[in-house]
């Protein structure tokens, strides 16, 4: 076999087996190249994505102090509202107490008026009796 290969090689020819092997290697290399291209494309996409994110983060970082200022303002407003709410609640509690007390006084006054009216009735009857 070796002699035959040498003779074919001398005239610039290759055996059928050598051709098959070479073709197989060529196919493998083509596939490897294809895969490498795909891999490169994926990395490129990732790189693009990361650079977009980086860009967003840079934007966000630029906006951060402003957002912080806004947040602070909201917090202050919220505290103000909470304080106002507490004050209104306290006022309502006082108003309720005052209303309840007024109601109690009103009932007491009405009861006293009943007594006054009844007493007047008694006096009226006593006055009329001797006449």
């Amino acid at each position: 076999m070796g002699l035959l290969h040498s003779l074919l090689g001398a005239v610039g020819l290759a055996s059928a087996g050598q051709v098959r092997t070479a073709q197989q290697r060529a196919t493998d290399l083509k596939r490897a190249v294809g895969e490498s291209r795909e891999e490169a494309a994926r990395w490129k996409a990732k790189a693009n994505e990361l650079s977009a994110k980086l860009s967003d983060a840079e934007h966000a970082a630029e906006r951060l102090p402003k957002v912080e200022r806004q947040l602070q303002q909201w917090k202050q407003r919220d505290e103000m509202h909470a304080a106002k709410l507490a004050e209104v609640r306290e006022r309502m509690r006082r108003a309720e107490r005052a209303a309840a007390l007024s109601q109690e006084h009103l009932i007491a006054t009405e009861t006293k008026l009943d007594i006054v009216e009844a007493a007047l009735g008694v006096l009226d009857r006593r006055t009329r009796r001797p006449l």
Partner: protein, 332 residues
């Protein structure tokens, strides 16, 4: 010297004064029969348990043409006679004190007359047709009455037949004989309050008895006393037993459904008894009424304008002091 002095001197101060009021006018149909039956029953049960007591019977405006209730008690129940202290209140006090011409009986002024003159260490204000239950008598016999504490008992209405001559606890406690009743609840333990209010005498006097300022109604005056006691810092507790009341024509629970028009004459109209309280004058309970002894155990309180409270004493009608549970008072 009050009519009871001779008794207390002879027997020492009684543990208990039971204050009831009534008169021989057939109120509610056979008043005397109901009164004498419950009186005999309660006397026997208390005596069995060794509870020394005086019966303070106040006859408010007794009819001149009928025998006095105190005389009937002595004749019918001689065994009760020794503990009887009777007070007859001149009928003119009714006209002088009443602020409601429709009202025929001033129950709580009458009870104040008795409470004012009671000699017992504890005073039970009750009604003339109330049977003391087993638990109540046990408590009276075995429990020390604490100061500044109002003791209450649930009132149970019983539907007894015409013959009540053989009443005993088993019969009263038999739920088949009982009509629906609402157990008393804190903080006031109100409901049928006039049937059982027990308090040490000094505390009763400190509170100056029942309301003498608002004299337009009987209805709610007992509850008003509880509001005053509670608002004055007194404890109100359930004594842990029941009292029994026999349903009869003329009782409030029946009359309000059958003859509502007559209810006002007996009890007066509804008023805010939970919302206002009173401060009776120091001469409450007709303190200044001239007393005339008509026999060893009975005194007649003569009429005198000096003893009559003013027609209107508005400063003495006040708001109750708020305490924990006051919302429950006004709502319950």
């Amino acid at each position: 010297m009050t009519p009871f002095d001779s008794l207390t001197l002879a027997q020492g101060r009684p543990a208990l004064s039971i204050v009831v009021t009534g008169r021989n006018d057939g109120h509610g149909g056979d008043f005397n029969g109901r009164f004498l039956r419950t009186l005999a029953f309660n006397h026997d049960r208390l005596t069995e348990r060794g509870v020394t007591y005086e019966l303070v019977l106040v006859e408010w405006g007794p009819p001149a043409d009928r025998p006095r209730l105190s005389d009937i008690v002595r004749e019918t129940l001689p065994r009760v006679a020794p503990v009887l202290a009777g007070y007859l209140v001149d009928p003119r006090y009714h006209d002088a004190c009443s602020l409601n011409p429709r009202l025929t009986y001033m129950e709580f002024l009458a009870k104040n007359v008795g409470i004012r003159r009671a000699r017992g260490r504890a005073v039970l204000s009750t009604n003339a047709d109330i049977y003391l239950g087993r638990g109540v008598v046990d408590a009276l016999a075995g429990t020390a009455i604490e100061a500044r504490t109002v003791y209450r008992a649930t009132r149970v209405d019983v539907k007894l037949g015409a013959d009540e001559s053989q009443v005993h606890w088993d019969l009263l406690e038999d739920t088949r004989n009982q009509t629906a009743n609402k157990p008393i609840q804190p903080p006031l333990y109100s409901g049928g309050s006039g049937d059982f209010l027990l308090l040490d005498r000094d505390s009763f006097h400190a509170l100056r008895g029942f309301n003498e300022i608002y004299r337009l109604a009987r209805l709610g005056t007992d509850l008003n006393f509880l509001v005053k006691a509670y608002s004055s810092g007194f404890r109100i507790v359930d004594i842990g037993g029941e009292v029994y009341h026999t349903s009869h024509v003329g009782s409030f629970r029946i009359s309000k459904n059958i003859v509502p028009g007559e209810v006002e004459a007996s009890w007066g109209t509804d008023w805010p008894a939970r919302r206002v309280v009173y401060e009776n004058p120091e001469f409450w309970g007709l303190r200044d009424a001239p007393s005339r002894q008509i026999d060893e155990q009975t005194a007649w309180l003569d009429f005198s304008w000096d003893a009559v409270p003013p027609l209107a004493d508005l400063r003495r009608l006040v708001l109750p002091v708020a305490r924990t549970g006051i919302a429950t008072i006004t709502q319950s």
